[in-house]
Symmetry: C2
Subunit: 146 residues, 2 copies
């Protein structure tokens, strides 16, 4: 199977991008206009949303997002945050997740980040270790009732 | 002591902002032009860098940064990332850290985030629990040799 890893684009609304994300968590109702608005907002040097597409079918089989944070520490350094990594249930075991993460690490490096970080469940630590990351700290969360 | 919590501004270069950050980690040489350039880059709806200023002396005693991430999941939701929280060694024990974190949680809520997250060392978990956060996942890191 030939897989192309590339940046998210508008046509991916019809290639199953949101259905893929729904395998990760709640996506909700996002119509084409809302999708395109958010895509425009993240079309910036501080984002890179990668997708893995099956070249034969044109269907998306995986995605992972990178957000670049601009800091003052480390000489006004930048940090890449990897978020929302998901591979289609039917396409697991083909190292697509690893290819997506490695792509985002590569983009982080080329955009001048001094490190890449992410948060994951305990049972995914071994997967991210295979991608070249190591265990560091504790993630804390507060959910907001707006 | 009267403390004002407000957003970072250009004049904070002279009020000890970088010296404060150097109590957290390496800051390096950042001249006024570089500081102002980064400040301009983070003068956006997706950042809020809070500082705590001693009203009497005009000296900064603490800072904490918020980066807002725009996602597709959760109905094109937004997540606040809290980063680089530091309180001057001489001003600890006055709940300044808690005030700064609470300010960033409040800004996250007002800007429509559905959650706020951060990464911290194990020995700071109890502090962030006092701020209203709870333990969630594992943070992973990869340092990049550019």
């Amino acid at each position: 199977m030939e897989i192309v890893v590339r940046q998210l684009e508008a046509g991916d609304y019809d290639k199953g991008f949101l259905g893929l994300l729904s395998q990760l968590t709640t996506v909700g109702d996002i119509d084409r206009a809302k999708f395109e608005e958010r895509l425009k907002e993240v079309s910036s040097p501080d984002y890179y949303i990668a997708v893995a597409e099956d070249a034969a079918s044109g269907k998306l089989l995986g995605t992972a997002a990178l957000v670049i944070e601009r800091k003052f520490i480390h000489g006004c350094g930048k940090v890449g945050h990897i978020e929302d990594v998901v591979v289609d249930a039917a396409a697991r075991g083909q190292r697509l997740g690893q290819r997506l993460v490695e792509e985002l690490v590569s983009v982080s490096r080329s955009r001048g980040c001094y490190k890449v970080i992410l948060d994951c469940a305990e049972h995914n630590v071994a997967f991210y270790e295979k991608c070249g990351l190591t265990r560091k700290e504790v993630q804390m969360v507060q959910y907001l009732d707006r």
